[in-house]
Structure formats: C-alpha cells, structure tokens
C-alpha cells in the first residue's frame, strides 16, 4: 500500500484474566475506499479486535493510527469522533421510535428541548438516496424487517459522518435476498470512498465482497491476502490451520428397509394456517434423505410434528411400521427416534446448565438410580466426558456451562448426545447453520458415519451445498408439499433451483 491507510493497527495485544489471550501481536490496516474482510473461526479474536478499534475494550499493548496519527479511544464516542463506526450483531435501536428519531438521538442538535427530527429526516432521505439504502425516515423501527433495521444502523453511522464502517457478522441474521441487498449497499458506499471492515467466518462472503482479507487464528494475524489472488480452499486452510475437506467423503452404503414413513401429513403453524399440506416421504436405513427448500416452506413444522412437539392435523407418522402419530416426544425417544433441532441453543440444549446436565437431556431417567428417580451424577459425568473425548468438544470440563460453548462445540455435544442413544431414525434440521468450516467438517463426517451404521437419516437443510454433499436422495419441499424427489448423485442444481421455486421438474422413484 502506498497511500496512508485510513486506520492502522500495530502490534495489538489483549488478554482477559486469568487465561484468555484474545489478541496477540495483531497488525492490520484498511485503506480509504476499501472493503477489508476479517476472517476467522469463532473464538479467533475477531470481535475483540474490532471492539478495541471501536473503543469498547482497551488494548494491553500496541498502537492505533488514524490517518497515520496515533490515537487513544477511551470509549466508542471517541472512535465515532474519529470517523469510525461499528454495527453490532444485535442492533442498538429503540424499537418504538421512528428511524429519524433513532438517528437523531444523541447526535442531532437540540431545537429548544427537542430534537429537530424534521431536519434529520430530510438529511436521511438525501443520504438514503445517495447510497441506495431505501429507508423511510418516518417508519417505526419495530415494523421494519431485520435487513432494513440493519440499514438504519448504517444510516446512523453515515449521518455521523463515519469514514470507516465496521460490520460484525452482518449476514448472520439476513435472508439470502437481504444479503445480496446489503452487498449492493456496501459496494455503493465503497464507490463513494467509504472504508468498510466486514467481520465474518463465511468464505463465500469474503470472496463475494472484499478487496482484501485478513485471517485471524487463535488471536494472531496469520495472513493478509488480496481477495482476487486467493481462493476458498486457501483461505480455509489459513483459517483452520490445516487442509479442509470441503467435500464430504461419501462411501456407498446398502439401502436398508424403510424405517420412517410419513403419509399424507398435514400440520398447522402457530397461526393455525396449514404449513405442511399432505406431505409424504419415506426414509430407509443406511440412507440420507435430504429435504431441500427455501426456509419457511413448512420444514420446521414438519420436523416438530415428526418428533411430537407439534400436533398433527391429519395424516400418519410411522416408525418401523408402528404408528407413532400421537406419541409424546419421550415415547418417540424410547422408540429409537432422535432429533437434532435447528435451534441448538434454545431447543437442543439449556445454556445455563453444565455439559453434563445437557448430555443427559432426554435420557435423564436412564442416568439415574432407584428406578429412575434419583440422578446418578457419576454416570452422567462419565457420559459427558466420553462425548467430549469422542467428538473433540473443546471445553474445560464436563461442568462447564453449555451456553458458553462455541456453536460448533455445542452442536457436537447435541449431535453426540442424540447419536449416543443408538437411534434407528435421526431427524436432523439445519445441522451446520452458523458453524465454521472445521465444525461443519466434523458434523458432516458424523452424519455419514451414522449412515454407514445403517441409520435412517432425514436431513432438512436450507444449504443446497450441504444436501448435495450428503444426501442419497433429495426431496424438494415447497409450500408444505414435496414437489419432487431426485437422486443425490449428479443432481442438477438448476433443476433443483426451479423445484425450490415450486416447479416440479423431475420425479425419482417412489417418494
């Protein structure tokens, strides 16, 4: 870089007593008009570094330079005065206020006792037009979709004349369409000379949007690359520290008998409207049936009904030929059904409880004495330790709270717990959503191992790549129905895309 960077970090150190080393000797820079991606797995120190730059944390050592001049930020206010703004994963908006009021708070000059909201609104309209943000300053925040709320946060920073915008995992809460819209906005900002740092663990986003990428691993900067001169496998290796198999190694497995059979199932959503409409499918031992589809086409209602968490309107669910349609979740567990819920933090586990307590969830009466009445803590702890060892869960010990595990480690715990019960049928919903590459690799390998042991696996995922990698057959769900089923091997992505939009293209065998 020849020009002076807008912001430069030099040799940043940060540790949290007693023993967390969040950043060690990290240096990086962002130039005017540049989009820099900061890539790293969960826990690599990305967020801490950004919070130091934004004045939330104080570094232990190192320098921060803005326009080549060393600066000290005691708080975010200082950072904002130097033109540095940050958008957190959780938005800092007053939900019952309008967009203009949210922006005016703390920034706009007072007119008498009140903000001059009207003047702010006029400015915002101009800003929104200039950068193609499409936000109505008069709208009330709580009525806006998440993607638009994020734009309000961007507007807030632009209104404060930020020159560098830091976005922490901005796509985590967005739909694919919203992601595309966000990236358009970021490109417009870049064209207007703004600098952007986007913090992410998603390789594809790095390739899509950034000019350069700085990779953090274990708190250190392990490499900065020009995006156009690198590729996903290279970045993955930098990020994880070893070669990563982005393709699952799937061995042919003999297809067994039908284990889970769903016939003409209809299920209602929270509002009473039918979300699953006469859906039928069959899953056999030793196969993975992938259910592909855009989120919100009845997938959640389907799996909840399969596990007994949601009442069925009509139709039948059978496990090994036994009708289980009316059975409770406990009874279905006894009938050797297991379920990996999409919401691993709120449904699959209880964050405030220890790993041990979570390891027995659903089997609490098995790890017990006196006829299942009194808990056998020793057996439970041994079970938890076995799961930790077998799945390589990174945790200080079985007494560690599950809620403090990273997403990947938590998912290993939940998946490990479910498969440890030797289920015949495994229902898996969005198993790798939000996980980093290393964890995805582990989860995929475990699912294939389960398949090799002859279990019937129903995989529901919105990630087409995941389905293509794992599924023996792919059923496409649209509006609560299966619109078609195709073979997993050599499936045509374009055809799947059409089916996901509701157009049946091909039929494969008996669904």
């Amino acid at each position: 870089m020849t020009a002076t960077p807008l912001v430069e970090l030099r040799g940043i150190y940060k540790r949290f007593p007693p023993d967390v080393r969040a950043n060690e000797d990290v240096s990086m820079a962002v130039a005017p008009g540049e989009i820099l991606a900061v890539l790293g797995e969960n826990g690599a120190g990305k967020s801490t570094l950004m919070q130091i730059l934004y004045g939330v944390y104080r570094r232990d050592a190192g320098e921060i330079l803005v326009d080549g001049v060393p600066v000290e930020f005691a708080n975010p206010g200082d950072a904002i005065r130097h033109g540095i703004g940050m958008i957190h994963q959780e938005f800092m908006l007053v939900r019952s206020f309008s967009v203009a009021e949210n922006v005016a708070m703390g920034t706009a000059p007072l007119k008498g006792e009140k903000f001059d909201v009207r003047a702010v609104a006029a400015d915002l309209t101009a800003l929104a037009q200039k950068f193609g943000l499409g936000v109505d300053p008069a709208a009330i925040v709580e009525h806006l979709p998440v993607g638009v709320q994020q734009r309000v946060e961007i507007l807030k920073l632009l209104y404060r004349e930020a020159r560098l915008l830091i976005l922490d995992e901005p796509t985590a809460v967005l739909t694919p369409q919203e992601v595309a819209g966000l990236f358009d906005v970021l490109r417009a900002l870049k064209a207007a000379g703004k600098s952007i740092i986007i913090v992410t663990h998603k390789l594809r986003e790095v390739m899509d949007i950034s000019d350069r990428v700085t990779v953090l691993r274990d708190g250190r900067n392990v490499g900065t690359r020009i995006t156009a001169e690198t590729d996903e496998p290279l970045l993955a290796r930098l990020m994880v520290g070893r070669d990563v198999l982005l393709r699952a190694d799937k061995q042919p497995t003999p297809r067994g008998r039908s284990r889970l059979s769903v016939a003409d199932l209809s299920v209602a959503g929270h509002d009473g409207e039918l979300r699953v409409r006469g859906l039928s499918l069959d899953v056999h031992g030793g196969e993975i049936l992938g259910v592909a589809g855009v989120d919100g086409n009845g997938q959640s209602e389907l799996v909840e009904a399969l596990f007994g968490l949601r009442p069925v309107v009509s139709g039948q669910v059978a496990l090994d030929g036994e009708d289980v349609t009316r059975l409770s979740p406990a009874a279905r567990r006894t009938a050797h059904m297991a379920y990996l819920p999409a919401d691993r933090r709120n449904v699959g586990s209880v964050g405030d409880l220890s790993i041990t307590d979570n390891a027995v969830l659903g089997a609490q009466r098995t790890f017990a004495r006196f006829g299942g009445r009194w808990r056998d803590r020793r057996a439970a702890a041994a079970h938890a330790s076995a799961l930790i060892a077998r799945f390589g869960i990174r945790a200080p010990g079985p007494d560690f709270p599950a809620g403090k595990l990273s997403g990947g480690n938590l998912q290993k715990l939940v998946l490990g717990r479910e498969v440890a019960r030797d289920p015949g049928v495994l229902v898996v919903e969005q198993p790798t959503r939000g996980l980093d590459v290393g964890a995805i690799e582990t989860v995929w390998a475990e699912l294939l191992a389960q398949r090799a042991q002859g279990r019937a696996i129903l995989l529901i995922s919105a990630e087409l790549e995941e389905i293509l990698n794992l599924a023996d057959r792919i059923a496409v769900i649209f509006d609560g129905r299966i619109v078609g089923t195709v073979a997993g091997a050599g499936a045509d992505v374009a055809a799947l895309g059409l089916m996901m939009a509701g157009r049946p293209v091909a039929q494969y065998g008996a669904a």
């Binding site: 709120n346 307590d357 969830l361 009466r365 299942g372 808990r375 403090k404």
Partner: protein, 357 residues
C-alpha cells in the same frame, strides 16, 4: 497510574466474587444510610454496632432473628421452587394465610387433646396440603387455560386476606374480643429451643424444609426436569419432559412450602389467628429468595440477614431514637444495592500504568 472500569467477557461467578460484590453492596448501603443519621446527632458507628450486636451477638436478639427468619425461609423456598421451574408465583401471602387458617382451626379443634409430637406433623401436613391446593389452582389454570399466573396469584392474595378477615370477624371470632380467634391451647405453641429467648422450633421446620428442597432440586430426576422446564420449556419438551405436568407439580409444592410459614407464624408467634397476621412476609420472603439468587443456601442466608436487620433495626431505634423511616430506608437500600451488585460482577477494575516516554 489510572483506575479504569472494563467490562468482563462474562460476569465473574466464583463464590469469592459473589461474596465480595454482596459485601460491597451492604457496606455501601450502610455508608449511604449512615449519612441519614447525622441530622439526628447519632453516630452511625454506635448505631450499627447496636444493629449487628443485638441481632447476631446476643442470645435474645439472635433468638428473635431466627424467629423472624423462619417464615421468610419457607416463603423463600417456595419462591426458589416455583421460579426455578418457570412458575412466576406471587401468591405466597395468600398461601401463608391459608396455612395459618388451617393450623389455627386444627389447634382449636383437637390441638388440646393431641400430643404435640402428633399435632405438629399433622398441622404442617394439613397446611402444606391446603396451601398446595390453593396455589395448585393457579397452576391448573395456567396449564389448562393458559394466561399468566402472575396476576392470578397476586389477586388470590386479596382473596385469602378477605377470607381471614371474614373468619376472624365471623365464625372463628372469640366472643366479646377484638376481631381475632381465641388464644390457641398452650400445648400447641411451638416450643422454645433456647431458654431466655423467643427462638422456637419454627426455625428447625424451615431448615429441614430447606434441606429437602435442596436435595430434590439438586439430586432428583424430577428436580432436574423442573429446572430444565424453568430454563427452557422448549428444550424441556424436546427432552421428553411433560412440561405442563411439571408446572402443575411446581405450583402445588411452592404454595405448600409458603403455607408452612402460616403455622410457624401462628403457632410460634401470634398464638391466635388475627386480621393482618404475617403481614408482608409473603413478599419479603420473595425478596429474600431473590437476594439469595434463587438458591436454597442463599435464601437461608438472606432470610437470616433480613431477620437480623429487622431485629437490629428495632434495637437501633430503641437505643438511638431514630425515626423508623430511617431504618426502613437502610433496609431498602441494602436490598436495592445487593440486587444491583450483580452489575459489579460484570466489570473489573484495571490499573493502567503509564510509562514515561
């Protein structure tokens, strides 16, 4: 060198951190409260020495302290049981009154003809059952009809208070006396455990209940299921736990525990049923449980401290002549600051050393 506050990654949760945060809160409350003494020309040090000395370092005072603490512990245990399992019950005042009515009735009917060793377990069991049925109604309403237990349980406090008012002005009124029941037979009074003090076996009832509740919550499968239900009903359902059944159980047990405070208060302190018996205990007990961070041990400690605060506050007023409002302000300050001390644990003090360039 500069001192700076820095946010921790997670609140410090070691016992040491919790102890120091709470101790700091109490000291801060006493310091702020001490300022209120100055206009009355009372030395805060002397006054606090009275408070602590009387409440904890005289046999008589400590006897009062545990007597004040016993019903608080029982209501606090009910709170721990209910709130930990996700049942936001606020009807302990009502449950306490139900227990008071049942034990008074029993004592007046057959108390005189029954040996105490038989009478007490019977009175406790009946009070527990009646209080459990009382609060179970709320649990049943939530399980079957939905809605919120907060409002219903709160309103049922009034129902119970009016019921007691009706009983002591009507059917249970002692002839020609104030609106109150006849004095209970002496054989039904809770025996004093320490000569020269008013400490009665009510504190043992409370401590035994605490041990049982602690064991059930920590060790039993049902306790585990209750706690999972409280922390995350969705995870509980996923784990095959009968969530509405567990909620119902919790609702019955919590009211039963709260109702035990009724006999402890009536048989141990008042020796008769009267309008306004146990006033406020049903709410102070909830506060004690909150101060104890909804743990059994914490609740017992907080209840004893709170009881001591009441006894010591009375002593302070006796000796120094401070208006009772000052004492109440200090009590409230301690509660507020201890509850707020959680915030303290989320921050650390950092010493920033600047070296000369």
């Amino acid at each position: 060198m500069i001192l700076r506050l820095e946010r921790r990654l997670a609140p410090a949760s070691s016992p040491r951190a919790i102890f120091f945060a709470n101790a700091a809160a109490i000291v801060a409350a006493l310091v702020v409260g001490g300022l209120l003494f100055l206009p009355f020309h009372v030395s805060p040090l002397t006054a606090y020495a009275d408070l602590v000395g009387e409440a904890f370092f005289t046999a008589r005072g400590f006897g009062y302290t545990v007597t004040e603490a016993a019903p608080l512990i029982l209501v606090g245990l009910g709170t721990v049981f209910a709130w930990r399992s996700g049942f936001a019950y606020l009807g302990f005042q009502g449950a306490l009154l139900v227990g008071a009515v049942v034990s008074t009735w029993l004592a007046l009917q057959i108390g005189a003809s029954l040996p105490f060793a038989l009478f007490l377990p019977l009175a406790l069991a009946l009070s527990f059952a009646a209080g459990g049925a009382w609060s179970g109604l709320v649990g049943f309403a939530r399980a079957r009809l939905g809605g919120t237990e907060v409002l219903v349980s709160l309103m049922m406090n009034y129902v119970a208070a009016l019921l007691v008012q009706y009983l002591v002005t009507g059917p249970m009124r002692a002839d020609g006396d104030l609106p109150q029941s006849a004095l209970l037979p002496r054989s039904t009074w809770l025996p004093i455990i320490l000569d020269g003090t008013r400490a009665n076996i009510g504190i043992f009832v409370a401590l035994v209940a605490a041990v049982i509740v602690g064991l059930v919550l920590r060790g039993s499968v049902v306790g585990y299921e209750l706690i999972v239900t409280g922390l995350s009903p969705r995870a509980a359902r996923f784990g095959g736990i009968d969530v509405s059944g567990r909620t119902l159980l919790s609702s019955v047990v919590c009211g039963g525990l709260g109702a035990l405070a009724g006999p402890v208060e009536v048989l141990g302190n008042q020796h008769r049923l009267l309008d306004g018996v146990g006033e406020g205990l049903g709410f102070v007990g909830i506060v004690a449980a909150l101060l104890g961070k909804l743990t059994v041990v914490g609740t017992v400690i907080a209840s004893v401290l709170y009881g001591g605060l009441t006894v010591g506050g009375n002593a302070m007023q006796r000796h120094s002549g401070l208006p009772s409002s000052v004492i109440l302000v200090i009590e409230a300050l301690i509660v507020l600051l201890v509850l707020a001390s959680d915030l303290l644990r989320s921050w650390r003090i950092v010493f920033v050393v600047r070296q000369a360039a």
